[in-house]
């Protein structure tokens, strides 16, 4: 599958630095793929999304993700509600009523997905190595290794991963690892009729995304902005970026996501210092006691 075995190499960098990757770093190289294909990802342009949900269905069909309940949520046409172990693509529908009650009704639609973070907390916290970085720079759960501990669920700053109630394992978007390895497009991008979901090398997508925002600004849509496209952000940039037409919170996205393991090294250092201090104090106390 890959050019090297990720399971044995993924923690080398981590052992030395305490980080899985960092801003500007190449996550695949960091994960131990010295000779790897270009990093790939999604650019989801919500300005052309028509809310058809073909991405949701194509994802479930290809990946055999189970149907998960007939619930009329009342949240506009969104009856999927959220990403979870059984929903790897989720189209959000946001009705924005006109302020003056006349005219400017807006209906935003956006297909959400795993961000395949450059700094992926899920990967950091996984105790079994079930979560891995692929040679494409994406993050994948290996079902046969996952023990269902659920650490990744709480570690994800986006609430992407969920644990299945049927098999107990954690599941999320694989960016169709089995398709892209064969040179195919992920199922969601393939099914999208309006090219709202675009797949490709991340560098190209980022360039395209910036161009699209500039075009929309010129066309009189000043609200257009990118989300997850900045390698200097709290997750080192996402492998799945978005063009949004409003604040991220409107779409249910955290405005300033941070890899939840960011502070772990510092915390461990503080803990070590504290432990050292306690030991020193005990030693001192014991030494004092002898007197």
């Amino acid at each position: 599958m890959g050019t090297t075995s990720p399971a044995t190499t993924r923690n080398l960098f981590e052992q030395e630095t305490g980080l899985t990757s960092g801003p500007g770093l190449d996550p695949s190289a960091v994960a131990g793929y010295p000779d790897h294909p270009p990093r790939v990802g999604f650019f989801t342009d919500t300005s052309v999304c028509i809310g058809c949900k073909a991405c949701e269905v194509a994802c479930k069909e290809w990946n055999n993700v189970p149907e998960d309940g007939l619930v009329l949520t009342g949240m506009s046409y969104d009856n999927t509600a959220d990403l979870s172990a059984s929903t790897w693509r989720h189209v959000a529908f946001i009705e924005q009523p006109a302020a003056d009650g006349d005219g400017d009704l807006r209906w935003l639609m956006a297909s959400n997905v795993c961000k395949h973070c450059s700094q992926a907390a899920c990967l950091d916290v996984c105790p079994t190595g079930a979560l891995m970085r692929t040679e494409f720079g994406t993050v994948v759960v290996q079902d046969d290794i996952c023990n269902g501990c659920g650490y990744c669920v709480s570690a994800c700053p986006f609430g992407v991963i969920g644990r299945s109630e049927t098999d107990g394992g954690a599941h999320k978007c694989t960016l169709c690892y089995d398709r892209i390895g064969d040179g195919l497009m992920p199922a969601c991008a393939k099914a999208c009729p309006t090219e709202s979901i675009q797949f490709g090398p991340l560098d190209e997508l980022r360039e395209r995304a910036h161009q699209r925002v500039a075009d929309l600004h010129t066309a009189g849509q000043p609200d257009a902005r990118l989300y997850g496209a900045d390698p200097a952000d709290g997750i080192g940039g996402a492998g799945a970026m978005f063009l949004l037409l409003d604040e991220p919170e409107v779409y249910g996205l955290p405005p300033d996501p941070v890899v939840t393991t960011r502070d772990l090294p510092r915390m461990w250092r503080h803990a070590a210092t504290a432990a050292g201090s306690i030991i020193a104090a005990v030693v001192v106390a014991c030494a004092g006691g002898r007197r």
Binding site: V48, I50, G51, C52, K53, A54, E56, V57, K60, E61, E67, D68, G69, L70, V71, L72, G74, S76, Y77, N79, T80, E95, P97, A98, L105, R106, W107, L108, M109, P193, T194, E195
Partner: protein
């Protein structure tokens, strides 16, 4: 379009990305509205007022494409003195027979050397009689009854574009000043469709209307074109055909027909609906829009040809088309000596649309019913009547993918629940046959662009599933085996059929390519034909559908071609195959000026190359290839020779786009706004409330509601319209049974505005009951600002949105919106009006058991509904 045709909508998004302005007009704010530049809310059932207003704007402000209009439309044509417009008769046209409720067409005529129709004699068996005159004899009355039947049968689709019955050389005034020229008649007719009227009738504010007027006219002319796209929101009305006529008039005035980026595009309800009218599943048509013979006036092949063909244009070759069809069907048995088996064709005696079929079931004359992928128990208007009809059959064959409601109503349908029917009392023998899906068989789809695209079988059908082709072929074989010894005349058409298709695969499915070969046709040498111009009237050619001739030219399946767009011209002629003759834009001669030069470089499509002496361009010219622009037919010319070099509309007898339709429509030569059959409003455009010749199916199970200012109208104060959701497909057979689709829209719902919710006490996600004179259904409530109250005639109107996908079976279940619909139909094409009905809505679930019918009867009583309510002309 984004809602129901998301795949096709990618091209709208592509156009938008290239700078196109997208305008969306709809009673509700949909996924299409969400990505459109302009959204225009409108009252359901008021589009003729809206588009009529656009026509008036174009005429009053002289924004029409004058050179195009004068040369290519019938604007200059002078009408007879006898024609009287709605302006003269307060909302009806001349020729209205108020007793039998049909129009005589005699007065809707061009003035010319001959007043008699050029063709279509049978459609006016007593054209020389004074119409609706006093002192009628029995013979007159009989002829009148026949005529009424004929009108009711509708002939709107005959000749595809209504090519019959116009004189090719009428009197004209190219200055457009003659008071009776079409242009002046049109101007007077639409003068009352002012912005103020549009606002009052359709609820479109004047500033918004002005914006649409500006956008459309600025984007039409020599350099630019505008396209209209419509779906069933335009067709399912008692004036459905006239909706589209209104757009046709506007597009012809703006010069947007026969040109790239122009046109009026009909989006169909599902795959290959275009194909099912080309090679029709309709009672009144033969393949290629040849009219089905009528019992009166089509007695022999010669009579038929005399009555149905025209003097000039390609319909003059009707005999060639029909004889070739008869040869395809009856082969060697069809000879010149027996009129090529013309008498084997059935004859119409009136309308036999799907709704008359239900009446025939109810009265016991229709005893058997085949349903091929159709689910009338929830999918047809007045679904209850459909089930009652099926309960009165001897046998019913349901062919579908899953156990749809039409296959199980006898054990668990709504009438079993209310106690009106008991399974043990129902005599209908029901056969359910599982069918092959499109992936399990080969065949073609014909889309709205008339493009045939072949699909190849991927896997063999599973289990007992078989293709419809296999079933029909096998059924025919068995029937023929049973009749083999018969000498009865009635059995000969079946015994003489060419019925010998090769089979393929382990299940011995008939070879679809062989059927395509029969449709394409062959010459006397047995070789495939390449063009319909090769068809002969002497029986030497056979062709199953003349407009499809060439789809298998050179013995190659042209519909299976898939050359990538990067490897061919922008017209992409090598992707699939479009009828006729692989032309991608119909009437594309109109993309060039009368001299044969493109109107503009930007919009060039075909043009005259004088050096080569031929029409050329990236598209296949829709014209006689070597006919120079300056060609004028000599006196007495007929058929193709009679087509002028500057008349692009070659299927019309006069070669012109019809602003005024002298023939082809049974309810008026011009569109006029009439209120829907059931409307909370009085018609303020004319004194005439409804389409006077709308078709009414009158039956105790199909009661109509009072309208406008009639007493009881206020019992049904709201307007409801039915529609589809992206997540589901038509009556649900292909979506409600699938978990992945069901979870996306898991329950039947109604959409209401916050204002209506407050007025009626409806709670978001609560239940509501929607009631009409036919039924009461329940639905979950979605309160949304996407449904906007409109101000109509000075008062606020609330509209209720109802998706129509649900029924009692499947993975997600719910009440069917079609329970509510009535059977007042468009008189041209017999389509029901479920896009604009009046209703009431109340909070809470509907009653169960017998109480359900009690509720409906209580509403009927409150509104004072009788068997005559709503049936006035």
């Amino acid at each position: 379009m984004a809602e129901c045709h998301p795949v096709g909508f990618q091209w709208v998004m592509e156009a938008k990305a290239r700078g196109a302005t997208v305008i969306h007009v709809d009673p509700r704010f949909t996924r299409t509205s969400a990505v459109s530049d302009v959204y225009v809310p409108i009252r359901a059932g008021a589009d003729i007022a809206f588009v009529g207003g656009l026509i008036n704007y174009v005429l009053q402000n002289e924004r029409y494409f004058r050179d195009y209009v004068v040369a290519y439309t019938n604007a200059a044509t002078i009408l007879t003195e006898e024609f009287a417009d709605t302006e003269d008769l307060d909302g009806v046209f001349s020729g209205l027979n108020t007793e039998e409720r049909y129009y005589d067409f005699d007065t809707w005529r061009y003035q010319g050397a001959e007043v008699k129709p050029a063709s279509g004699e049978h459609t006016d068996p007593d054209a020389r009689q004074s119409h609706a005159g006093a002192g009628q004899s029995n013979g007159d009355r009989r002829r009148q009854a026949i005529r009424g039947n004929l009108r009711r049968a509708g002939r709107g689709e005959a000749h595809g574009s209504g090519g019959a019955a116009a004189h090719p050389k009428p009197d004209t005034d190219e200055t457009l000043q003659h008071p009776r020229c079409v242009f002046q008649v049109l101007k007077r007719h639409f003068a009352r469709y002012t912005p103020e009227l549009v606002e009052k009738v359709a609820g479109v504010p004047q500033d918004q209307f002005a914006r649409v007027c500006r956008l459309i006219t600025e984007n039409s002319g020599r350099d630019r074109t505008t396209a209209f796209v419509y779906s069933l929101g335009w067709t399912q009305h008692t004036v459905g055909v006239q909706y589209i006529r209104t757009a046709a008039i506007l597009q012809a005035l703006l010069g947007n027909m026969g040109r790239p980026g122009g046109g009026i595009l009909a989006l169909r309800g599902h795959a290959s609906i275009q194909g099912s009218t080309d090679i029709p599943t309709l009672f009144d048509l033969l393949p290629g829009y040849l009219p089905m013979p009528y019992a009166d006036g089509n007695d022999s092949l010669a009579d038929y040809v005399r009555a149905e063909s025209v003097q000039s244009g390609f319909w003059a070759n009707t005999r060639e088309y029909l004889v070739s069809l008869l040869k395809a069907w009856w082969g060697d048995a069809a000879t010149a000596g027996n009129d090529f088996c013309y008498d084997y064709l059935p004859r119409l005696t009136g309308s036999h649309s799907t709704y008359e079929t239900v009446l025939a079931q109810l009265d016991g004359t229709c005893k058997g019913y085949f349903l091929y992928g159709q689910n009338p128990a929830v999918g047809s208007a007045n679904a209850r009547m459909q089930r009652l009809g099926m309960a009165n059959l001897d046998w019913l064959v349901v062919r579908d993918l899953v156990m749809i409601e039409s296959a199980t109503w006898w054990k668990d349908g709504p009438e079993i629940q209310t106690g009106e029917m008991r399974t043990e009392d129902i005599g209908t023998e029901v056969f359910f046959l599982p069918v092959a899906a499109h992936t399990e068989k080969s065949g073609s789809f014909t889309n709205t662009q008339r493009l045939l695209q072949w699909h190849h079988q991927a896997v063999e059908p599973a289990g007992d599933a078989r293709s419809d082709l296999q079933f029909t072929y096998e059924l025919g074989r068995r029937i023929r085996a049973k009749l083999a010894a018969s000498q009865a005349g009635a059995d000969q058409p079946i015994l003489d059929l060419t019925w010998d298709y090769p089979t393929t695969g382990e299940l011995a499915e008939p070879d679809a390519d062989a059927v395509l070969a029969e449709i394409n046709g062959h010459g006397p040498d047995g070789q495939p034909l390449t063009s319909y111009t090769q068809l002969a009237a002497d029986g030497s050619t056979a062709c199953g559908c003349w407009i499809y001739c060439g789809v298998r030219a050179e013995g190659i399946n042209q519909a299976a071609r898939r050359r990538p767009w990067q490897e061919q011209s922008w017209v992409a002629p090598d992707w699939g195959w479009a009828w006729p003759a692989n032309r991608r834009v119909l009437y594309n001669r109109a993309s060039a000026d009368p001299q044969g030069k493109p109107w503009s470089e930007r919009k060039a499509l075909v043009w005259w190359d004088a050096d080569l002496g031929t029409w050329t361009g990236p598209d296949v010219p829709d014209f006689v290839a070597d006919r120079p622009p300056e060609y004028r037919p000599p006196d007495g010319a007929t058929g193709v020779a009679a087509i002028s070099g500057s008349h692009p509309f070659i299927m019309q007898a006069d070669g012109k786009a019809w602003l005024f339709a002298p023939a082809g429509l049974v309810d008026g030569p011009l569109p006029a706004h009439y209120e829907p059959q059931e409307s909370p409003f009085r018609n303020i455009v004319y004194g005439q409330q409804h389409n006077p010749v709308r078709q009414l199916i009158r039956h105790p199970e199909d009661r109509f509601q009072p309208s406008g200012s009639q007493p009881g109208s206020d019992v049904f104060p709201y307007v409801t319209t039915t529609y589809r959701l992206t997540e589901h497909h038509t009556a649900g057979g292909m979506s409600r049974f699938l978990p992945y689709l069901s979870e996306l829209q898991p329950e039947m719902f109604c959409e209401v505005s916050p204002q209506l919710a407050a007025e009626r006490g409806l709670e978001h996600l609560g239940w509501a009951t929607i009631i009409t004179a036919r039924a009461a259904i329940e639905a979950r409530v979605l309160v949304t600002e996407r449904i906007r109250p409109l101000e109509i005639q000075g008062r606020i109107l609330h509209q209720v949105g109802l998706p129509w996908h649900w029924g009692p079976n499947g993975y997600t279940t719910g009440d069917a919106a079609n329970e509510l619909a009535h059977l007042a139909l468009d008189p041209n094409v017999h389509i029901q009006e479920d896009k604009a009905m009046a209703c009431d809505i109340q909070p809470g679930r509907r009653p169960r058991g017998p109480a359900l019918r009690t509720l409906v009867r209580a509403y009927q009583d409150r509104a004072g509904i009788t068997d005559t309510t709503g049936t006035e002309m």
